[in-house]
Structures are given as structure tokens and as C-alpha cells.
Symmetry: C2
Amino acid sequence: MTQDLYLDKLEGVTIPPLSERSRVMPASPIRRLAHHADRARGRGVQVLHLNIGQPDIEAPEIVMERLRSYPGRYVPYGPSQGNVEMVEGFRCYYSKLGFELAPENIFVTTGGSEALLMTFLTLFNPGDEILVFEPFYTNYNGFAVMAGVRLVPVLTRCEDGYKLPPRAEIEERITRRTRGILVCSPNNPTGYVFSDDEWEMLGDIARSRNLFIISDEAYREFVYEGPTPARSALSLPGLEQQTVVVDSVSKRLSMCGARVGAMITRNTDIWKAALKIGQARLCAPSVEQHAAAALPDVPAAYMERVRDEYRRRRDLVFEAVSRIPGAVCRRPQGAFYLCAELPVDSAESFAIFLLEEFSLEGATVMVAPADGFYATAGRGNTEIRIAYVLELKELGKAMAVLQAGLAAYASAREASRKT
Amino acid sequence: MTQDLYLDKLEGVTIPPLSERSRVMPASPIRRLAHHADRARGRGVQVLHLNIGQPDIEAPEIVMERLRSYPGRYVPYGPSQGNVEMVEGFRCYYSKLGFELAPENIFVTTGGSEALLMTFLTLFNPGDEILVFEPFYTNYNGFAVMAGVRLVPVLTRCEDGYKLPPRAEIEERITRRTRGILVCSPNNPTGYVFSDDEWEMLGDIARSRNLFIISDEAYREFVYEGPTPARSALSLPGLEQQTVVVDSVSKRLSMCGARVGAMITRNTDIWKAALKIGQARLCAPSVEQHAAAALPDVPAAYMERVRDEYRRRRDLVFEAVSRIPGAVCRRPQGAFYLCAELPVDSAESFAIFLLEEFSLEGATVMVAPADGFYATAGRGNTEIRIAYVLELKELGKAMAVLQAGLAAYASAREASRKT
């Protein structure tokens, strides 16, 4: 279509069209309202960010120390699979979790983002299908578009506490093109943590239907109920060759901007394929790998302190949202997000209203409309995702803004209906 | 094919196959011999690396200073389009080059590598064709596989000094699917720098055939003959909306491992499409952007010193290779590479021989076989790429190793023919 359109005008001044991907690529619901936030700030309004999972907690001292004492006189390329010290850092870290890995099981990536993209590129052909439980981390959509794979959503429901649906409901979505199941526990955006029974069921489906399991475990340590760290897909028996864990130091070390993550797999064919793709992009950032290599040396007390802090924040946000008349949400067990169904006609309109038309004592909040966390059109339209990544005092203020904003939005809607 | 194979064994223990991309993705000729080099080092042999364009020159003090004084207590995500200070850094840098850009013309990427991948993803559909002059930077192949685009090679020849072929020879490769021309001047791997006439011809083809120009300008300042910095595709009239410059601080600041680059385009639709793709991967590395933001403040004397050093190295390497009987090469005008046709049956075998079976006074060299710099099968089989990124003394030693290695290789081949 675009091709013919383009050829018709070969001799004209038409600018060549961009790719189809550029059209279908979804804008991130986490970031697409950024210009509204800029406008709010332009009016002098403080914007409290609940839209992005950006920890505001200090990174471990040992990590920042290494960052500031980078020894080089220049910054050389490292090995495509990761700096030796960073690979060793992940190896020791996993050993402490009870998983003995070889260097050829670890591929250091430019954040968990690149680990996801490289996993998709390595495992799946254009047109292949991957099961994913919705709501899911919105950026899976972007990587799927880049790799040409199709995300096939299986719904989990707030009213069920985001538990996995019965096995039959999952299996009925499997077709001839299904090649994998993409999971995330602790979950972004719901905070749900899989039970052992759920892991066993997933493992059984993957084994019997010969599917890859791609497990995003960036929030492993962020568990507020039950055992921590959360169970890893690496523990599933008989799936050693068809499991890829997507990891990241972003949340664990408060280093989102460092862009250091990893693909973890015991299937060395996957590692070798990743190496070919990885060589094309040369390497992950050298300085930040040097810093993050301290991963296994971060004191356990650091992570406990962080977990306690997030637990308090979770409690505050959950209590506040629960008190909002007409809002529906579940107490998240992990990660640092909460999904809430709000009594609004459109979460997107409400989010824009908060930024463009509302403030409480000089402040407003930015939330992520949850529609982008679903692959099914129409779902999530009245839901938001809240990232509780502010200090308690600010978070309390944010909740007050949210509550007052909802009332103001309802009045504004009522008024516009009457006119 | 693989699909059916896979379904046949649904109930068996078959591991699901990897993607077709994993199979066709070429291994990097720059890095694929790394394990042979490891073995040489294992035998106690010093390996002089001529295989990878990794500058060994000190980064500007102002940049390393900023790196070591990163102000944060943690490392947050930055904007997907780049940290404000880094965007401003590129803006000022381009302003000094005579190009006035807006922030919406600059998209900061994770190295020039990501800029290339994002450009391909943004502009081209799977199956689209891009003209590229071979030999070309080998990793273009990798990004082409990832984006599903087809690189259509147009040959430039050592005996012509790597000048562009006549216009008709270029235009005859244009088909209904051709959407762009990918260029690199100063060139990796030939060191060739386009003349004004060549730029005008390319611009004219792009205008008349409505093609994008993607211009990899990572080596802009590395020019040893003629005006420096080298001319930019941004200077081509009437192509503002269909030009994307791929930039990188890797070579310019001796910061290859920093992974900071940029897509530069005056077409804000491209920028907006890149933003959607860029939001999925969140951001480029924060700390290293903080450091590289000093780009416009790097003293001109730094770059002059670097250029003088590389000019001396180029002269040494060119003289040495020219003296090798049967070797063919041209004096490179820019970048820091030299392509040489060698009197060997296979450049790959020779490169492996150097690492596995040869040393001179305890040292050997690692070179990149040039076949991977061609898209046409069979081309470059007896060529190597040399990156002159060692100090003069080491470089002299490397040339002696190369020369002696060629003689030893010829003898070894002769001996094996006789037995």
C-alpha cells in the first residue's frame, strides 16, 4: 500500500514514508503524557511522579563508590557478553540464590530492556506467538513490534487477586504458532507473586507443549508477603534448555539509568545466538558494569532496609486507594506497583486532567493509564498503574491529590454534561 | 519448515528451535576469532589487537572528570530522547560545525550501534532494500538481520582508491523496494572520505529517487588529508526531511564503552517514531551521558593531538603494508582502518594461523578477516582490515609480526601441499 503510494510520486517532492512499525509501535503509557507534565511544571505546579518505576532510594554505597572510582584513562569496549567482572558478579549473585551457573549461562545486556529484545530476537520468528498474562509490563508490546512477534494475552483479573486462570483457559490460547510463555513475578504492574502451584502448572504446560519460558525477574527481591527472594523460573525441573530469565540491576541497586541487565539461560545455543546479536551492538556500558559488578557484595541489610521502606509505601498507597469510593484494587505482594480500577470514564482523560487542570496546594500527580498494559483493545481503560516510588510524606500528599483530583474530575465531567 | 519439525515432536523431549535470525545472523569478523586470541594468551603469547577499532588514547580530561564526579546518590532513568545536558551537548557541538539544530532533531542512543538499529526500525519495513557501498562496516549486516531489511551492495574497489562507482552503476541496483542509501565517510573499513562531487551525486540520486540517506559519521574528525571535520550529509540541500546522521562519541572521545551516540535528523516525524521505539527501551546510560555531555567543551587542541597521532600511525601501517610483496592497499584519508589484500589463500585461515601457530619474539597480531565487510559472498576472502589503534612502537612490532607471519604462513602452506 505505502509502497505503491510511494512509487506513484517518485518524481514528486513526497518524503519517503516511515516504516509500518513506526505507525503501529505503541507510545508508552508510562511516558506518553510527559509533555502534559512539562506543561504543569511550566505553570509552577509540582508534579509527583507515580507513573514510572524509578526508585528514589540511595544506591548501595559500594556501588556508587566503584562508579566514582572508575580506574581507566579512557572507556574501552568490553566483551559483548559482558565485562569479566560483571559476569562474575552475576555468577556469584546467582550462586547465593542457589543456582550454580557457568559464565556461558550469563549474557550481560544494556538493561533488562535489551535482554527482552535479544531474547525475542534469538528465540522467535516474525509471526510467532507468545502467551502473556495481562495486564503486563507495557514495554513488552514495543519489543514484540520490533521483533515481529505476536503477544497473545491471557487475562488475569483484579477480582481474582490476579491469580493465574485455570490451566484450560491458558491452554486454549495455544496455537500452532505459540512458541513461548512470558511471565513476570513479582509482577509489573499488578504486584502479584506466583504461588508454587502456579509455577508448577506453568512448567508443566511449557514441558508438555514444548514452549520457552521467558521470565522477567527484575523485582525478585521486592516481596512483602511470603518468602523472599521470589521463586525463579530457573528452579523449574526439566526446563533447563528452554528457560530464559531476564534480569536487571535497575531496581535491585537503584540504578535504572545504568542500563545493566542480563539474559540468564542454561541453553548455551541461546547464549551463542545472543552472542552473535550482541557482537553487532558491541557491548553494554563499561563504566556502569564496573560499578554494578559489586552486586554480590551488596550487604543483605541494604536490601532489607529497601524492602521495609517499600512495604510501608505499599501499605500507605493500598490503604489510601482502598478508601476511595468506587475504586477497586488488590494489596500487591511484591514489586512496587499497584493497579487500580477508578470510578472514571477514562483513565487517560483523568490522568491528563490531573496534569492540565488540577492541583492541590500547588501539587498534582502523574499516573500511568493502564490501557497500555493490556494487549486486548478496550481493557484497562478505566485503570491506572501507580508506582510507589516516593518517600512516605510525598506519597501521602500524592494520595491526597489523587483523591481530591477524582472528586474534581467527577464534578468537571458532571458540569460538562449539563452544558 | 522448522515449525513442522517442531510440531512433529510435540510430545517428545525436543528443545524448541531458536529463531531463523539466530541462524542467519553473521558472527562478527571483528570479534569471532576472540577464542583463538584467548588460546594464544593462554600459551603466554602477547596478542597485539588490530582487529577492533578501540582507541587506546586518553579520553579528554574534562570528560573523565565528569565521569568520576557523577553527582547522584543513585542512577535514575533519563528521558528516552537523552538527558537534557547531553542533548544540549550535541546541539552545541553541531552548532560549532555550522548546523543549527533543535532538541527535536537529536535523539541520544546507546552508542552509534543503537542509532543504526533504531534508524533501520524507524524507516524500513522487512524486505525493504538499502544500498550500501562494500566493503562496509560489518555490523550493518547484523542490524539489517534484526530489522529484516536487505543490504544491497555496490562495490567500491581498492584499485580505484575506493572511489564511488559511476552513477549508472549505483542506480542500476535501485529496485521498487529500495528505500535508502547507507554511507560512511570517513569510511570504516577503507578510510575513504567522499569528495564534494560524490556527495552531490549521492544527494542527487536520493532526491530524484526519493530515498533516505543514512550517514554514519562516527569518524567525522578523523581526517588526515583535506578539510576536517569531513563533510556531513546534513549539508546536502533539499534532503533535510530524508537524511538521518548516525553519530557516536565512541571514537571522538575515546569512549567506546560508554555507549553514547545519537540519531540526528531534521525530520521530526522520524524523531517522534524513534521516541516511541526509544521509550520501550527507556533510556541510554545516564552516567556516561553525564560525562559525554562535555562534548562541545573538549578543547580543539585535544582533537588535533589525536589526529596527529593517528596520522603517524596511518603512515607507519600504510608504509609497512605497502612493502609487503603481493599486498595491495590504498593510503586511507580518514578513520583509523586500512583494508589490505594479502597474498594468502584465505584471510580467515591466515588470521587463525597468526593466533594459533605463530609468534615473533613472544607476540602475535589479531586482524579482522574482511569477508564480513562484504555482503557479496566470496568477496574479501583474501583481505584483512587493520585498525591502527596501538602506540607507534607496538604498531611497528605488529607490522613486523604481520610480515614475518605472512612468510611463515606461506612456508606452512607450501609444506602442507608437499605432504
